[in-house]
Structures are given as structure tokens and as C-alpha cells.
Amino acid sequence: MSNTKRISTVLAAAACTLLLVGTATAGRGGSAARIQNAINTRSSDAIIAELERAERLICDACIAPVMELLDDDRYEVREAAAWWFARRPVMKRQLAERSVADLAGDDSRLARNAADVLGTFRHPDAIEALAAASSRTDLSGEARAHAVRALGRIGHADANGALAAAMSDADAAVRYEALAAWLDIRRQDGAAPVVALIDDADVRVRAKAAAVAGELREASARVALEAQLASDPDPSVRRNAAWALGRIGDRASRDALEAARSDASSLVRTTARAAISQLR
């Protein structure tokens, strides 16, 4: 075949093996107009759907509008736009370089968005830049939190040091994201850095610390969790502590869990009862 022809003609000649009839395909039917229309609606669901449909579309006219979406005020839209560029490795590399530069700059909003891009790209080459940004107190807490979140999305153990450091951040949102990211690290081994946050001043951080320690069965967290179960004012925190103690499974927690069976909160009682059944 050497003559000029529309792609559809080529398609007709190409072997197409949909092995079963009735299949539906992903990433088909996209266009620049559809993306622009979705952007015009402001619906994040519509925007994401159209970006997915244009997954591999060769679409010069799409570049500018999708590039703008990287600065959208909604995280899910920025993530989808970054994913769209991740399908285009040449552009992805350019964006990654730009994002690293933005992380090093002094604009917190740009740094936040850059972190989201790098998190979506999932390449461990970005760990160093993200780690640096996560500790920069001249950036907003939000930007630092997104840098930490991106480290979790990359999920590589090389980020553990930065995540442990972020658990001492003055901003509770950063500490919370560090806990969540700690759990996202592939083959994560234990949760020792998390233990210190079990009596954090922030209720969400305390609840998350208990949950992370429980999921990773961090035995060194037992005493702190028992204290948390007995006296934390927030029922969600006590509930997570009970659940974590069940996961850890140390019989020494029995008394604390027995006491929690009559906790004032319905959120806690069943969890304490079930946790007792898990003790070794």
C-alpha cells in the first residue's frame, strides 16, 4: 500500500481482532471540540470523560486547552489533564522539567499544581524535587501538602525520609498527607515514624495515625493506641485506635479493648468487640 488514503481505509485493511463481539473500547471518539465543550460546561466529570476519550488522539488543537487545565482549581481536573499528557511522553518530559522548576519557585499555587503533575507522572526522578518542596516553609501549607501527596502517588520507598520529615510539619494538613502517603509506599515496612502522631494536636492527624499504624501492624504503637482508645475525646479517633489494636493483635491490649466495649459512642463499641476476637 503506497498510495495516499484516509486512515479509515487503512483501518479496513488492518486486522482487527476483537475476540468477542459486543466489546466496547476505551479512549475512542475524542476530539478537540469535545474537550472544549466539556471545559465550557465546567463539569469536572465531563472534562475528565472527554480527556479519557482523547487518550491517544493526535490533536494539536487540544494542547492549549488541556495545558490550561493543569492550572484548574480542582485537583481531579488537574490530575486528569496531567494523565492526558502522561500519554505523550515527549510532552510529559517537558512538563516534568517545567514542574520541577515551578516547585523550586516562590509561587505556591504553581508549586501545588506542579506537584500534582509530578505525582500523576509517578516517576521517582521527581522525588528529590518534591521532597525539597515539602520542607520549604516559604511555600504555603497547601503546596507542601500536595508535594507530600505526590510523593505518595509515586509510591517509592526513596520518599520515606521526606515523608517522615513531613510528619513534623507545623501544618496539620501536611502531617495528614504525610501519613496517607506513608501508606501508599509500595512494600512499606512498618510505621515507626507514625507513632509520634498518635497524640497529635489535630484530630484528623490522630485518627489517621492510628489507622496507618493499624494497617501496617506497627507493634511499637500499641501503648500509645491503648492510651488513645481510653482517653481521646473524639470517637473517630478511639474507633481507629480500637481497630488498630485488633490488627496489631497483642493480647496485652485486651483490658483496653474490653473497657472500650462500653464506650459511649456507637462508633467504637463494635470495633472494640471485634478487635478482641483478633488478639492472639
Partner: protein
Amino acid sequence: MSSTKYILGATLAAATIGSSLVGCGSESQGPLDGVDSIVFLQRPTRNDGMGDIFQYTSYTPGARLVKLSPPTADGELTVLCCDQDPEYADLDISGYDLSFDASESTGQVVFSGRRAQDEAFGLFLLRLEDGSLEQLPTNPNRNYVQPVFLPGDKIFFMTSAVVEEGAPQHQDEYERGVTLQTGVINVDGTNEVLGPRNLSHRIHPTVMSDGKILLTQWDHLGEMNAGHLITMAPDMTNMREAFGKEGTGVTNSYLKAREIQPGRFIAIGTSRDRTLQSGALLDIRLGADDGNGGFTRDMSEANASYRILTPDVPRGREPSSMSVGRYYDASPLPTGRGEYPALLVSWADGPVESGTLEAAGLTANFGVYLYDSATQSRRPIYDDPAMWDIFPRPLVSRDAPPEIDGAGKHQFNPEAGLIGSMDVYRSSLDTFAPGSIYGVRVIEGFSVEEGIPDDFGTSEHEGAAVLGVAPVYADGSWAALIPANVPVHVQPVDVYGLSQRNEPVWFSAAHGESRFCGGCHESRTETTIIQPGITQAVAAGPADLLSSVPRFSRASDTFTRDATVGVPWDQALQQVFDAKCVSCHNGTPGAANPSWTLTDPETGASFTWTFDLRGTEVSYGIGDEMFSGYSASHLSLMGPDMVDLEDSGLVVDGEMKIYVEPGNARDSELIRKLNPVRQFPTQDLGDRAFDTAEFPPHAAAVGAELTADEYYLLILMADNGGQFYSRENAPGAP
């Protein structure tokens, strides 16, 4: 507690209601006879976060479970949950189920809820007797949604928690959400068990009258990308396809199925996205009329049929019309099981489509209606315009299905799954010549959660790790031990290692589960008696396909026939190209390196590519839009996606060939050109897969013969899907 009611005004639907659907104040309520109350869920209206049928994390506080007694426009609305407990003040509820004995004053409700302080949806129990609440002890880091009661005081649910300790949950590289998988927990909160995984989401389980579970499984393997109905045992074993493939389907996805008669279901049919998880009502029968009030005779996917109960409702993602709208869900009624049933439904009028609603500053307004499928008319029951009134259910007790056993256990290795077939030649998909299948290749699937940068290459296929090939015995049987809880798909292969058929569905086996099929996608209309113990494969002992090797160690150390697991393009294939191919196929235009040009007819911009098997990183595209970034060899062999080029409206000039057809080495131009050699049981360079007169072995002809291992590598690359990335070269691999 009574609250303000919002009764629909006169609607076209109400005006056309049939006489059997009598409104309030009548002595007979027709299909609602015997139903003193209905329960439904009220969620604050929302648009975003609900467009894709798999989304489950949308949180807006203010949801409540309510009871309407009687279920008429002038009935009394009572809040069941959760005004009674201030700890639940900011609750959102995404789904619920009534216990089998639920009635006006007894029984339980299990619901998935999230409070503002929580980061995920958990499971809660509400006792109808006294309104007391308790939370079940689920993992607070993970979401637990869509619970349903099982007989035996258990609850089946969907969750983002991971069955495989220490492994990340699968994240579909296309949809990207953390996938939902199956789980079971006792009503008292003990013994949470998670099921073996699919590579993509599983959603919306329902309990069948025979005790099995029916749910929606997202099948995403290569070009396959749709939500089909499957069944499984309540212990999450024995997964089997039920509806949506094999030509039975009518749209992209089927969800929220509810059994109306044995083997007969009402489900929502819709596009995957932009429809707020709503669509048309479908009446699906998994088999033929059994003459006993059900549709269970010859029940199989091949025999399944459907009827569209709402023909005007779009089954795609286009905006629905005024007075047509879309249905969020439907529930059968105790007396409404005729050919054209009456249903309790949740429906919203107008353009139920994410973008249209958002652009207009509107939200979908789902209300509760009685739908008469014979006249295709609706009777309004309740609608609060500030709320989505969804999942209406008659508050009546129902028969609990029997408690049934799951798959049998095997005795070989309690940690591994045992898979196999009685006779691989029994297939509804293809005709295999006797003796033509040497073995069955088992391929593990994974996705970007293992450190892949959101793209596996120019292929649509996700991560692949070849666990090995289990030999087929003289009686056609094969058996293999595989890692438990890992999604796999299988390919029967010939002695050349070429796949004869690519089974396009992921399945998995639990610890100790024995998953035996009659054949290779055998006829679903035949009776299959599974007695794997009598097969030669089991008698000889199943092939151990890395069943005890940890996930992150299931990777290639070398790239020989038996040691290759993943096929990292740059590490495995490029060595072959560099040593045997690039002296000729090096991007220099000519007979050995054909060229093609893409042109944008609107701008005149063009791009020319010349065949090149070097490892140089290259790109292709038009204007600023540059693709690939992978190697020249990857682009040359895998090519641009033809459908995407068509969508782009580009013109191609020159010889553009698809050298590798992902998932199909046998029909790939590259493999035919090379004419690979025999692999099994022993490698033989003197025996070729194809007629050498028609396909003269190219490498041998040019004096650059490949080794048998190299041929096999190329076959695996093509049969796996042509990915650039694998576990071995994942940039983020630990």
C-alpha cells in the same frame, strides 16, 4: 417524624398512568398492594463525582434514610437514620440494604456511610426496632460501599481494601480510580474476608434467589473495556460470566441489577460516564423460562437475553430528553413480576448528563416513582428537589436465599489457587484441531500501581507477567497452581508458543480455591460436570506457575523461554534488535525501511516516519502534539493507533503497516515474517510455525538467525499486548 413533602406536579407521566396504578386514597394500590411502607435514601443533590459509574467517593453531608408510609403521595415520611444520634449529623450515605426479615418494626439496615471526620465510607448497622446504630470494624483507611445482606448473618460489600497484604490496590491505567473489590464480614463485625481481585472495578452486588451473588465487573483487557454482569459464590469464589458479552449486550455497562424472578433481573444500562450512574431500565434473563416461575433453564451468558423497558431512554452518554430522563435504579415489587413488571424506581427528568447539567447550573432531580413497564408510564410517589431520592425498596420481609458452598478446595497447596480445564478443546469460541494445543499460558495482570508512569507504551494493554505454560495432556486437561488473589488471563498455545486464542477476561482464585472449567470457554449451553480429579493433568500434578513467588519477585532474571516473566522492551527486546536487526532496519529510507507520512489536511503539517528498529528514543506527531517518547523500535513495530489516527482526521501516505497486533502474535506481521521456531516440548530451530514457502524465515534468510529464546521473546511481547513497560523496567519499581 414527619417532614415537608414535595409532590410532583402534573406530569406527562402521571397523565398517562394506567388504571391499574391507582393514586392515593384508593382502596387498592395495585402493584403496591401489601406494601405498607417503602424505604429510600435521600442524598443531597450533586453533579460532579458521580458521572462515572465506578465513582464511589463522592461526599456531601446531609444524607438520610427515610420511610414513607403508606407509599403514596400523601404518606408520612419518617427519618430512619440518622437524626437520632448527633455523631451522625454530617453523614453521607451511598447505599444500603434491608435484612431479609426487615419489616415495619423489626430487622436491620446495613448502609455505607461517611462522616466529615472520616476519610472513607464505612459500614453501619441500623436496628429498625429501636433506631440504634453501630459501625462495623472496617479499615478506616479504605472505602467500604454497596453492602448487601447474605444469609447466615453476613454482609457482602465492595471495598478498596487490598486482599494481598503489602500490595497496592489495582488502579486501572485508564480510569485511574483505586478499584473496588469484593469482601464479606459477619454482621457482628468479625471475620472480614476479602475476595480475589479483578484488575479493574467490581461494583453493585446483589444476592440471587439461589444464593449466588450477581455484580458488575469492569472487564478491561486490551480493547475490551466494558462493565458486564458476573456471578460468584457468596464466598467470592466460582466467578462466572453472566451477561453483556458474547453478543448479548445492548450497551456499554450494566449495573445495579436486582433479581425480579429466579434468573431474571432488572438493571440499569448506560454508558460508563457522564450519566450520573443512571440510564435505561433493562429486563435481563440469564436463561430460558424454566416453567417454574424463573429463567434458570440453560442459564448461561450465551443464552441470556434482554428487553429494554424504557426504549426512549438513551443508553449512551448523550443528554436525555425532557419527559424521558434517566433511571438511577429500580426495585421489583412483591406482586409485580409479570412479563411487563411494575417497578419502584428512582428517576430524574430532562438532560441527566453531567456537562449539560453543570453548564445550566442544574442538578439531576431523582425522585421516587412507580413505573409501569407495560404502558411505559410513571406515577410520582415522592420527590424532594433538594435531594436525590434513590434506591426505593418495599419494606417487606423476603425469603432468604439458601446458604451455598463456594468452590471446592484443592489439596496441593493451601496458599495457591488451582486453575485448569477438563478438556481445553471444548470451546465455543474456536475450533482447535485435536492435538494442536501444547499448553495453556497463564498471564498475570497488574496496572500502574506498581510504579508504571501511567502508560504501558503505545498499546492499550496493561501490565503482564507470564507465570508460565501448563501442559495440556492427552485427554485435553491442564492444571496449574498460581498465586492466589491475582488476576490472570489465559491463552492456549501451540508447540511454537503462539497463542491460539486470547481469553479477554481476567479471573482469579482465592487461597486454596479450585477453579476448573469444562473447557476453554466451553459451550455455556452444555452441562459440564467438573471432576478435575479424574483428569490426567491432576493425576500428574498441576504445573506450579510461580504460585509461591512473591509479587515483586515475579519478574525475569534472564530472558530464556522458561525464565521470562515480563518482557521489558528496552531490556529484553532491544538487545535482540541491536544484535540481529539494526544493521539493516535503521531508519534509512529504502526497501528495508519503508516510510509513511501523516498529514493534517487542515493545516498541511506533516510528519514522516521511517521504519527503524534502533533503541533511539523518538517521537511522532503533528505540530506541537508529539507522541511516543518510546524507542524507534517500539514505534516502528507497534505503530500509531489506527483508530486514533482516524479520529484525528489525518491522511496517511506511504506504507503504514501494523507489525504487531497486540494480544495476537500469530496474526502479527512481524511474527509471520520471522516464522518462529518450535518451542515445546523442546526448542527446534528446524521446525517453523508457518509454511516456509509462504513465509520464508526472514532472519535466517538474511544471515541473522535468532535463537529459539529470542523468537519466544518476540512472541511473548506480541501475545502479552506489546507493552513497553513491565515489572522489570517500571521506573518506580521498588
